[in-house]
Point group: C2
Chain length 225, copies 2
């Protein structure tokens, strides 16, 4: 099984690993996109496949079966390299990076190309749900100062979202005991754009985490998305 | 821009293209997974990267900028190769395949590995939303006999969904005029498993498509997801 575990690594070690694997991930991300868009002939596809298979065999020489999990070190650094939305080693992840504003709004801007398509030329409605779910979970966790889990998520699809640059915003709209309500939007990243999808989520602070005992669990981990 | 267009291809041509590009997509899917799980050293990563870059350059020799779009031929075959959930040329797509049951339940079973991780060892909550959104949209479209768009989608997260084999079910629970309500679940694909996520979606048949004129648009296309 995958784990949520302490790793005896310096933050510099983690940075170096992210640079190494992040480069490989960029290459795979480019391939994910080109596999959809390319129109080369069968011979070129066959040559490309031979190279990809050789590269994959090389990577498979030491590849434990388990997924990446979430890890943290003694210096407050945590990393979830496989995460579908933010994972540094996940080539599908755009990847999303969050900016915590002074105005309590959490923002993110990404560019979504061919791999994120649903209706022709538009972002798949489920991709908007995926990205907003993650952004809202992180928002509920208040910059990783508490742990939350998703209770319910409601999405209202207002208009199509064209592929290309998009931006998201989320904020905590209400808090009551262990319940945190977050609202969010995603829209084209152009001036005066209206939201394409509006979302409301109810996030829960687990009972065991509501009055955390520093001796029984890691802190600073944030949303379990 | 991407398009929703007629292509003058035989169904055999489409099948042959799907076999060619589907093979490449399988290779990229394996790389997406291995990039997360591999623990080989920096030299092997560098060698793998050189191969991937050479393969990508080859595919980029003829790669128009636009995404895949959705296409159909004169024989009722349609294809959306880039689609995030079902696209034959999208290495992130598990891919999902739907089975339309005699009992009006639409089912799908897939295995979700490292690229779909959120909490350690579990499927990302947003991935469940992505897959259910697509399944429900296709269900609302009644096996591609009408066109629907997503109005609202509500997801209730009941319990964690472990990575591994999962199964989904969806059915139309209510219809009224242009409104179609669909309910769905996702759960581990094991005996007696309880749902991890329960979803309800309201799908809309666009006004222009409610009484379709066969001369003004393609038929048999289904959900715009």
């Amino acid at each position: 099984m995958s784990s949520f575990s302490f790793e005896d690594l310096t933050t510099e070690d983690v940075d170096a690993a992210e640079a190494l694997w992040g480069g490989l991930t960029d290459d795979v991300r480019r391939l994910l996109d080109l596999t959809i868009r390319s129109r080369v002939g069968p011979e070129q596809v066959a040559r490309a496949r031979a190279m990809l298979q050789e590269a994959a065999d090389l990577l498979a020489e030491d590849a434990p079966a388990e997924p990446a999990g979430v890890h943290y070190n003694a210096h407050g650094r945590s990393w979830n390299w496989g995460n579908t939305v933010v994972g540094v080693r996940n080539a599908f992840a755009p990847p999303v990076r969050l900016a915590w504003g002074d105005d309590d709004v959490v923002r993110s801007a990404v560019t979504l190309g061919a791999p994120y398509e649903g209706p022709p030329g538009s972002v798949h409605g489920g991709v908007s749900a995926l990205l907003l779910d993650h952004l809202m979970g992180e928002t509920a966790s208040a910059a990783h100062t508490r742990l939350t889990v998703t209770g319910t998520l409601t999405l209202r699809y207002v208009r199509p979202l064209p592929l290309g640059p998009v931006r998201m915003e989320a904020r905590v709209s209400e808090e009551s005991g262990r319940k945190v309500t977050v609202t969010a939007t995603i829209r084209p990243d152009v001036v005066d754009a209206e939201p394409a999808v509006e979302a409301t989520g109810l996030f829960i602070i687990p009972r065991w985490a509501y009055q955390p005992d520093p001796d029984t669990g890691p802190t600073g981990i944030g949303s379990l998305d």
